[in-house]
């Protein structure tokens, strides 16, 4: 009889414990929903913001503004310059002298200046080596490098065609001479649609931003207003106070994620969803859960929201830049690479792109998922530990 009674109290306690958390979570959600401006911008962050990131942003060479200074005015020079055409280049016309071209580059109005020397055609016909100069604005080094690469291909091909023509061979005769033909196959995103990549990374960034900021801000606000005292004298444990903030954050972010995933990514940009969506959501829940640990840690060392704001920016911005979205890890120096390995977003990005674009499952992605779990687990445990300690 006694035993049964004990079981009953355990059950009852468990029930009360869960009720307490659910009531607290409700309170957190109410607080968020009453701040209309905040709510509006959370909505904007997951919709309009992602739309903007996905439309019209590209790190590919796209109609690079090109001008030509043609000192030869021959058939050959005109043929060469007209090979600089879209999608990579866009010929804006000829200019009278090089100085004018440099001025346009200085102003940032043109990106490339092509300089064809006098006697260009003549030298070619005589079989003398001649050079064409290309001045590239490399203030963006990726585009500069790409432009130089494509330019070399165009000029190389032009030279080859005219060389073959003079040997009495047509360009088609390349089939009958020893050379290489290239075939490129781009996997996972065959049309090189940049919006796929941009929208996915932006969505993951937003998830990270809110997972860090919302719990930290909610906590700091309680401290600033003094309502934390009320919570502490209530029959609630620090763990309950904390977990309800995490749950409220999770709910808001998951709703935002779904809105973004189906409303923007799929509906507007037709981002393929090749992998398993339940897996994606499971990983997202895990990620949010562990990342809120960072927020809780921030909450323990800050006293007001201004501090929360700065600390969030200080942690969030490096996480985004070191996620590997903008820079391939292979090209970076070792200590940055090490930092990247410590950023949970780096793993989350691999998983997110892996599931959506590459159609990877648990088998292919277990490594980043494990990395994310370990780092997130450590962060969350640390946040929890700090959080509990501050009430002692």
């Amino acid at each position: 009889m006694m035993k049964l009674f004990d079981d009953h109290t355990v059950l009852l306690r468990g029930y009360v414990w869960c009720r307490q958390i659910s009531v607290l979570t409700h309170k957190e959600l109410f607080q968020l929903f009453r701040d209309t401006l905040l709510l509006f911008f959370v909505f904007y962050a997951f919709t309009g913001n992602i739309y903007l990131a996905g439309s019209g942003i590209s790190l590919q060479l796209n109609k690079a503004a090109t001008v030509v200074h043609d000192d030869d005015n021959s058939l050959a020079s005109r043929e060469l310059m007209h090979r600089f055409r879209p999608p990579y280049f866009h010929l804006h016309g000829e200019i009278a002298n090089t100085k004018e071209g440099i001025r346009l580059l200085d102003l940032g109005e043109e990106m490339i200046l092509l300089d064809i020397p006098p006697r260009f055609q003549e030298s070619m016909l005589k079989g003398e080596l001649t050079g064409v100069q290309m001045q590239v604005d490399t203030t963006n080094s990726v585009l500069g490098t790409l432009a130089a690469g494509y330019g070399e291909q165009i000029v190389g091909r032009f030279g080859l065609d005219s060389g073959l023509a003079r040997m009495g061979l047509s360009p088609e005769s390349l089939n009958a001479v020893p050379n290489l033909r290239e075939e490129h196959r781009i996997l996972f995103n065959p049309n090189q649609d940049n919006s796929w990549f941009m929208t996915i990374t932006e969505l993951l960034n937003m998830i990270t931003l809110f997972a860090i900021m919302l719990p930290a801000a909610a906590m700091a606000r309680e401290k600033e207003k003094g309502t934390i005292e009320q919570l502490l004298v209530s029959p609630l444990t620090p763990f309950q106070i904390m977990i309800s903030k995490v749950l409220a954050t999770m709910i808001v972010i998951l709703v935002g994620t779904m809105l973004s995933l189906f409303g923007v990514l799929q509906f507007i940009f037709h981002v393929p969803m090749r992998g398993s969506l339940p897996l994606l959501f499971a990983v997202t829940v895990l990620y949010i859960f562990t990342t809120t640990g960072i927020g809780l840690f921030i909450a323990t060392i800050t006293r007001n929201l201004a501090q929360v704001g700065l600390l969030t920016l200080m942690i969030f911005a490096p996480m985004v830049f070191l996620s590997g979205a903008w820079t391939p890890p292979e090209a970076l120096i070792w200590w940055i690479r090490l930092l990247m390995k410590l950023s949970p977003l780096h793993y989350f990005l691999d998983v997110g792109l892996g599931i959506l674009l590459k159609g990877g499952g648990l088998m292919a992605l277990w490594e980043p998922i494990l990395g994310m779990t370990i780092i997130g687990g450590v962060v969350f445990t640390f946040g929890l530990w700090r959080f509990r300690r501050q009430f002692d």
């Binding site: 701040d35 911008f41 980043p368």
Partner: protein
Amino acid sequence: MNIKRIIAVVNKERKEIVRDKLFFSLAFILPVMLMILFGYGLSFDVENIPFAIIDRDHTNLSRDYAYHFISSRYFDFKGYSPDERELDPLLAENRLRAFIIIPEHFQKDIMHNRQASIQTIIDGTYPSRADITRGYVSAINNAFSMELLCGYLSRLKGIPVEQARAILQPVRLEVRFLYNQSVKSIWSVAPKLLMAILLMTPPFLTALGVVREKESGSILNIYASTLSRSEFLIGKLMPYVAISVFNGFVLFLMARFLYGAPFKGDLLFFAMVTVLYVICTTGIGLVVSTFARTQIAAIIVTSILTIVPAALYSGVLIPISSLSKGAQIEAHLMPAMYYTNIVLGSFLKGTGITVLWMDVVVLAVYAFILFTTGYLLFTKRPRT
């Protein structure tokens, strides 16, 4: 307007900022830390691309061809593989970014004067990375192809290889990289980081400073005082502008000496425009603060209004001319783009006021509009 009262507000704000030690130190640490991390972490160079080769030919020529890739510093050779099916998962797991397939009869085809086709499979998840990888592969393929053609032509016509090369490659492209001769990313990125960081931090500091008073209720003291709106706003914002101008100076020194970016323009002109730009971005914070009631809202609104444009529409990642039409309009609406022109002009191109005056005017107009809006929206008689 009374100077004395403004000074009083400045002093109050200064003391408040300095006494919050964490906030005060973060206000200076944050920009420096961002500068260091982005400077080293935002290298766009694509190097050491992990790749594999499937050699179905196993001949001297195919090994010779493969060696062109293996010895390139752009590629990091991970090994030969017998089968495509083995490599596809590696691509999906991010262990490889590309692989190259050398077909059967590769050597035989070449020896019998036939064209051989080389297949390259590239991971397209990161579009710009895929583009650059493809460019590198093509460059190596073209060079190899040219060697074969020259050899063939010299055998066919009985002329030296050099002469054959002159026939087939009559035009050479001499590329000159302007503004950044060695195409080291860090050079061109560092000055732009100055712009991005000065867009991100001042609005944050300002919006939080003003909204904090609203949320804690201390703004009621201001409402009830004899301070006029403009006196309050000027006094309130001055310390934040001062902090950001100081940060701008530190960032300038870092760009110049830590990253070795050249500075070819006029220092005085640049300093003055930087102050103007900081006033502009502080004004963004002011406008946000007039309609945000809570600090959480202020944090989120400023981070979304500034970080995204700082990265996407300011010309840091892509030149404005390559943006789509809608994004271009967006870019022209942000102050960042105009300041980017000035930063790049002053650092890398050595242009001055004669070329850049238009950008300065736009920034000034921008600052004026922001402050007028802030002034009009800020009211001492809040509707509740």
